[in-house]
């Protein structure tokens, strides 16, 4: 069991309003879990809990058998917004993870650092190509990129450090259908090649069914209750085109009817 979530409860604000209530979830190593749910139902909160940047008010979260109190290198993260460092170029953003985890503040002054950086840059260029950016984009700063390009760079940045668990929050939301399909393929291929466990938050039911090996739906039963897992569907093989429409309808019905 890689991720073990046990009766987790989270509330925000004063007076506290429940966001997540009674979440129980077990995720095995190597699963590709897509998380669906209406906006504001607590999907991002769930990811932050697994990262360890927030803590549940009740219940506990074990990753690899123990509780984590702060984010670290085992759990990669592609946040919904502010995902790139604005002061670094695209290339430096992508190599930042490896540089920072291999070299301390002062080890950067040694020649070994520059040799290693050359390798890392070559690797980053490789990723740049795979996410469909041109090499002339490498020297740009994040706010010179379009929203979709930023999302793709953020994914490359998280992939570079090869985390065991990858948490992606609406990572494809700003992509056009064509690019989106390309990125889906890329993520799916990398997942197959590396065996990374992926949690993928999305609003696109169709995408969830095509990507994941498992789809979970978060939904509230009533307005003042926290969300819980309303449906947990395992998708052993990628869905064929004929089954998708009916499954999409079923999932969306669950997500919506619970909210009423």
């Amino acid at each position: 069991m890689l991720i073990h979530i046990e009766d987790v409860f989270v509330a925000y604000g004063s007076p506290p309003r429940a966001v997540l209530a009674g979440i129980n979830l077990e995720i095995e190593e190597g699963e590709f879990v897509c998380v669906l749910g209406q906006t504001g139902c607590g999907k991002s909160t769930l990811l932050r809990l697994i990262l360890g940047s927030e803590h549940p008010m009740r219940g506990r979260i074990l990753v690899d058998g123990r509780e984590h109190h702060q984010p670290d290198r085992t759990r990669g993260y592609v946040p919904q917004k502010y995902s790139l460092f604005p002061d670094k170029t695209v290339l430096d953003n992508i190599t930042f993870g490896c540089e920072v985890s291999e070299f301390g503040l002062f080890a950067r002054l040694t020649p070994a650092f520059y040799r290693r950086r050359k390798q890392l840059r070559a690797e980053a260029f490789d990723y740049l190509q795979r996410i469909g950016l041109r090499s002339c984009d490498a020297k740009k700063y994040p706010d010179q990129l379009s929203g979709g390009m930023q999302q793709r760079v953020a994914i490359a940045q998280a992939l570079m450090t090869k985390p065991r668990i990858l948490l992606m929050d609406e990572a494809f939301s700003a992509l056009d259908p064509g690019t989106r399909r390309g990125m889906q393929q890329l993520v799916r291929d990398l997942w197959k090649a590396t065996g990374t466990t992926i949690l993928f938050v999305t609003h696109n039911t169709d995408e969830a069914l095509r990507l994941g090996t498992r789809v979970i739906v978060l939904a509230k039963e009533s307005v003042d209750q926290g969300s819980r897992i309303a449906m947990d569907l395992s998708v052993p093989a990628p869905c064929g085109d004929e089954e998708i429409p009916s499954l999409v309808r079923r999932l969306e019905l669950v997500s919506e009817s619970c909210a009423l």
């Binding site: 990262l51 917004k81 998280a158």
Partner: protein, 285 residues
């Protein structure tokens, strides 16, 4: 000039912009000259509004001759020797030294603010005290400082430190707090440690804004420096201005005031240029 004159959508032409932006300078100068001329017609000995020629002579003497209390340079000295012994140069050097020293002391203030914003224990330890300290009117401490540190350099530097550092600390603290938490979480997930996050992620991101905040506070630094120099000093630009006031030396005071403004403008301009060069990704709001 089209229909949109004075409205939001107006687009002044380049020539018009240039003329309008210099207009108040020209008007100020003209008004001064007019008043000066009128006063000199009434009383040729007038000392309140020196003419341009008088100011030029006063300034020439300030640039070329040592202050009265110093011994003169050897008569055969060349231009540069005379310049380096001159009153203006000595005053400027003394003031700049104190000014740069105080600017250097702002660096620890920035780092303290950064750590207060990032490390909760540092934050709770210092925040309340700095907030309190910020409310003390630094000039009211002046007598205490003179008593405690004597009337030499230390008390003047301390005045600047006490007057300006709380603002800089609080400003860097707020800027640090303004960095989106996602950025910090992301850095940790990429394998950064606490100090990598502090210096390689957060400090680099807030640096241009902190520099801008220091630029805004240059005026305050100068204000406290001048207060210290005017009250207790034996050299410096403000000391000279205060001294010349006793002789009604307006022919030197006015050029000195403009010289100080020019120096401050140049420092600010240099910092802005450096900021642009160092942080090409930063767009000033």
């Amino acid at each position: 000039m089209s229909v949109g004159f004075l409205l939001i959508h107006a687009r002044p032409q380049r020539a018009w912009s240039a003329i309008l932006s210099w207009f108040l300078f020209a008007a100020g100068l003209a008004a001064y000259l007019w008043v000066a001329q009128a006063r000199h017609r009434e009383n040729p000995e007038d000392r309140v509004t020196p003419t341009l020629a008088q100011m030029a002579t006063g300034m020439y003497n300030a640039v070329m001759q040592p202050a009265e209390e110093d011994e003169a340079a050897p008569p055969a000295a060349n231009f540069y020797d005379r310049l380096s012994h001159s009153m203006l140069w000595r005053d400027t050097r003394a003031t700049s030294r104190r000014f740069l020293l105080s600017l250097a002391l702002l660096i620890p203030a920035v780092l303290l603010g950064l750590h207060m914003g990032l490390f909760p224990y540092v934050g709770v330890f210092f925040l309340r005290f700095v907030l309190f300290f910020d409310k003390i009117v630094a000039l009211s401490l002046l007598p205490i400082l003179f008593i405690a540190f004597g009337i030499d350099e230390l008390s003047k530097i301390m005045l600047i430190v006490i007057g300006v550092t709380p603002t800089i600390i609080l400003d860097s603290f707020n800027l640090t707090r303004g960095v989106p938490p996602e950025q910090i979480v992301k850095a940790f997930t990429l394998g950064a440690g606490d100090f990598d996050v502090a210096y390689r992620v957060v400090l680099k991101q807030v640096a241009p804004r902190v520099l801008n905040s220091i630029r805004l506070n240059l005026k305050a630094v100068m204000l406290f420096l001048f207060a210290g120099e005017m009250i207790a000093s034996t050299d410096g630009l403000a000391y000279r201005i205060a001294l010349l006031r006793r002789h009604m030396g307006m022919d030197v005071i006015i050029p000195y005031v403009l010289w100080v403004a020019l120096l401050l403008f140049l420092v600010d301009f240099a910092m802005r240029t450096v900021n642009r060069k160092l942080h090409p990704w930063f767009h000033e709001a």
